[in-house]
């Protein structure tokens, strides 16, 4: 009896196996049709990293913003040419010599949780960002604001400590994103897991390291989005990201590896959209840490690096070698700095002049990125030629950023996505004790010029100031600029209406699928 029963159990297991395998086989065929036929109501976007934060006021990774763009609106936005245009604010007035900004707000806007959007909400958001206790990375961007006043239900006034010309430009980014005050109060620190904004899409769910889903928000004030659901998938590995695009699982990726650009261009089902980006990439040097506290060593590093080789070998010439943090796409770029190849002899001499023996430091590079690892190894090899030994250490990106903020490093391979205004691109990086000044760099002249460039309104004057800054940074070399990335978005040919903004952020409400 018992034996028989066990026999059946055994048989059952075998049967199950057969069914399972059979199903697998059958479904293999039907699948391709389901995926390609996938409703035109869903857009799958592949991101290059899992966004660490869904709270714009806490965010410190550029990839977060790709998702914010669908959940939140900003007070003002840019158009495809980088010109400031209205969004939640219909109009604004700058008075008092650039010290007072008065915004008139849209009256038909509701947050996704039903909370009405008004002047009070704007004040709430600014106050939260400005509150030192919330330790918002935004504080450094809008620290010039002294107070925010509600003039009427739909009119808000922002008063600055001193004139600050990049403000509007900054408000097109996370600092200008409006969060639902109700949700923030309710969720507290957990807001990041249940974000609520006024944007065209509403947060649905998130599985860490797997996906974030947003759905079209019915009560959206603006033009109704064409696509109902957007799923963001993080694929840190560029190869995985690309193969998911090629095989049709993903409709659009926010970036592709440079090595793959040629291949995607040749693929009949895909297209690549490119735009000069506004950021810079390079190496942060901790100027308080030996041997990098020695300016000669930093200068030697600056000279020892063959930026053209890096651009060619790792990026297949799809990036531009960099000598300053202000990219060629910016009006503030200083083209007089031309040292893009290595001057090994000069670098060696500098190392000798420093008087240091056995010069070595650790370079932290983000784990999981082949490009960054190659860059690290190329830098390692180039510096070895001039007598500087580099130890490479792979660190997870989030940890690396954290260690950067804590100045817990010798050197890290870190860049910046950049801002529309040159001030946004470099101020927080190079001003003494700036929010992104992981180097610990401090130069009185640079501080002075950076602040002047904020207050003067003449573009020509500002350009001159930024050129001086660029040249001073080259001399002091707290940060080794290596290249300016360009932005390459790859998508299926069926993706229509994609608009490539200079800030490289995907605005999904304009997209449709054919």
């Amino acid at each position: 009896m018992k034996a028989r029963l066990k026999g059946f159990m055994f048989l059952g297991v075998i049967l199950l196996l057969v069914i399972a395998s059979g199903c697998g086989g059958n479904k293999g065929n039907t699948s391709s049709s389901t995926t390609t036929n996938q409703s035109t109501n869903q857009l799958v976007i592949g991101l290059d990293n899992d966004p660490p934060q869904l709270d714009p006021q806490k965010s410190s990774a550029a990839v977060d913003r790709q998702v914010f763009q669908s959940i939140y609106n900003t007070l003002v936005d840019i158009d495809v040419n980088g010109k400031i245009v209205p969004e939640l604010a219909t109009s604004w007035k700058i008075t008092n010599g650039g010290k007072v900004y008065t915004f008139n707000l849209r009256k038909d806007v509701k947050f996704q949780d039903g909370t009405p959007f008004n002047a009070k909400a704007v004040k709430f958001n600014f106050d939260r960002e400005l509150d030192p206790k919330s330790a918002s990375p935004r504080l450094s961007e809008i620290g010039s604001i002294s107070k925010v006043t509600v003039l009427s239900p739909y009119q808000v006034q922002v008063t600055l400590k001193q004139p600050f010309s990049p403000l509007l430009s900054i408000l097109t980014d996370r600092a200008g994103m409006m969060l639902s005050p109700t949700a923030v109060k309710k969720e507290g620190a957990n807001f990041s897991n249940h974000p609520v904004g006024t944007g065209p899409y509403k947060f649905v769910e998130r599985v860490k390291q797997d996906h974030i889903t947003v759905k079209a928000f019915k009560g959206y004030w603006g033009k109704k989005p064409k696509i109902q659901t957007i799923v963001y998938h993080p694929y840190a590995d560029g190869n995985v990201r690309l193969t998911n695009l090629t095989s049709g699982n993903v409709d659009l990726v926010n970036t592709i590896d440079y090595k793959d650009i040629d291949r995607v261009k040749k693929n009949p089902n895909l297209k690549v959209d490119e735009k000069d980006a506004i950021g810079f990439q390079g190496i942060v040097l901790n100027v308080h840490q030996a041997p990098l506290n020695n300016v000669k060593i930093r200068q030697a590093i600056n000279l020892a690096i063959d930026r053209e080789s890096i651009a060619k070998v790792i990026f297949h010439n799809y990036v531009t070698p960099a000598t300053s943090p202000l990219p060629v796409s910016s009006w503030a770029h200083d083209s007089s700095l031309k040292q893009t190849t290595a001057d090994t002899a000069a670098a060696k001499k500098l190392v000798q002049e420093s008087g240091l023996k056995n010069v070595h430091f650790t370079l932290k590079i983000p784990a999981g990125s082949a490009q960054n690892q190659q860059l690290g190894q190329m830098v390692q090899s180039m510096l070895k030629k001039v007598g500087i030994n580099v130890k490479l250490e792979m660190v997870e990106f989030g940890t690396m950023i954290q260690q950067g903020t804590e100045h817990n490093f010798d050197a890290i391979n870190l860049g910046w996505s950049g801002r529309m205004d040159p001030d946004g691109t470099i101020y927080s990086w190079f001003i003494t004790k700036g929010g992104n000044n992981d180097m610990g760099y401090s130069n009185a002249n640079v501080d002075k010029w950076l602040n002047q460039a904020r207050t003067v309104s003449s573009k020509q004057e500002r350009t001159q100031l930024y050129h001086k800054i660029s040249q001073q940074l080259w001399k002091d070399a707290p940060y080794i600029s290596i290249y300016y990335p360009n932005d390459y978005k790859a998508m299926k040919k069926s993706v229509q209406g994609f608009q490539h903004y200079p800030d490289t952020m995907i605005r999904p409400e304009t997209i449709s699928l054919k």
């Binding site: 066990k6 699948s31 389901t34 957990n190 797997d210 193969t243 804590e406």
Partner: protein, 318 residues
């Protein structure tokens, strides 16, 4: 029977206790202050002090352990350092994924190993036996990550049969879920299937030499009946035990497999948590894995005693 189970159960509790001590110790007894380990070397003294207070690090070690175990028993595994989500919630969202992967891979392994082991044992010395031996040898020697890469290169990039990686929940799209699970299951299952094949082969060869197999032939049973009705069950017993013991390295394999194929399960969670030094998550995930291994082995022992009538008597197992 009951006595046997009780004895095994007691043993399991002892092991679980030791496992918990080790998991606790891994983070707490290593040189250095856990708080500064968690916060990084240049954390502010206030932050360190408050974290120490929160973690109860000022208590003596045994008290800390008691607090921790008390929490664990109530389902409180602490909070992730990255976003303060309860570790238990994170685990609960990842476990089904890994469970699915391991079940698929295990079924695949059995599906390959049972026929292969039988054929090679029954036809010892034949070409089939040779092929199986080579398969088994290669299977236990091939690094999972290389196999994964080769599979992606071959089945996805070259032939375009399968998507290279990713995961879709079964509830969301069962068809796609299974398609995406094929390659990870192969990459994970091959090693186990090779081990099971080897074991089943040698176990079956030994059993086929026993007297009762000769009795089976003397009764007039055909080879098929002898193998399936008499040899296989006896040969499966040691294989079952080893399969249980292999679970832990099987879960280890899941770590690599999930990383390669971007399957958001426990393995990927552990790797990410380790790389981001999110130690509460690491602690929780490891604790879960070890508990799973211990409990499964306990169940295997029980199953063994059900399958082998010799153990049912008394409690004196051989």
């Amino acid at each position: 029977m009951l006595l046997y189970i009780a004895r095994r159960f007691f043993l399991m509790i002892v092991i679980l206790f030791l496992v918990s001590i080790m998991v606790f110790g891994l983070i707490n007894i290593i040189p250095g202050d856990p708080a500064s380990l968690m916060l990084g070397q240049e954390a502010t003294p206030q932050a360190l002090a408050s974290l120490r207070q929160n973690l109860g690090l000022n208590d003596p070690l045994y008290l800390q352990y008691i607090h921790w175990v008390g929490g664990v028993l109530q389902g409180n595994l602490g909070y992730s350092l990255s976003d303060h989500t309860p570790v238990l919630n994170i685990l609960l969202s990842k476990i089904p994924v890994t469970l699915e992967l391991t079940i698929f891979a295990f079924l695949l392994a059995v599906l390959i190993a049972v026929p292969a082991g039988i054929i090679s044992a029954v036809h010892k010395g034949s070409v089939w036996d040779y092929v199986t031996t080579v398969f088994a040898l290669s299977g236990v020697s091939i690094p999972a990550f290389w196999l994964g890469i080769l599979l992606i290169y071959l089945l996805s990039l070259t032939l375009g049969w399968l998507p290279p990686s990713g995961y879709v929940a079964f509830a969301q799209n069962p068809v796609r879920n299974i398609i995406l699970m094929i390659m990870p299951s192969i990459a994970l299952g091959i090693r186990l299937s090779a081990q099971l094949t080897r074991m089943l082969r040698s176990s079956l060869l030994e059993v086929m030499q026993s007297d009762y197999i000769r009795t089976g032939y003397a009764k007039g049973l055909l080879e098929k009946a002898v193998v399936f009705k008499h040899a296989l069950r006896n040969a499966m017993l040691p294989v079952l035990t080893v399969a249980g013991l292999e679970l832990s390295s099987f879960l280890g394999g899941a770590v690599i497999t999930e990383t390669i194929f971007a399957v958001p399960g426990l393995g990927q969670l552990i790797v990410n948590a380790i790389l981001t030094r999110d130690f509460p998550v690491v602690q929780g995930a490891i604790l879960f894995m070890a508990f799973a291994v211990v409990i499964v082995n306990f169940l295997v022992d029980i199953a063994y005693s059900l399958l082998d009538p010799r153990i049912s008597l008394g409690g004196a197992s051989k």
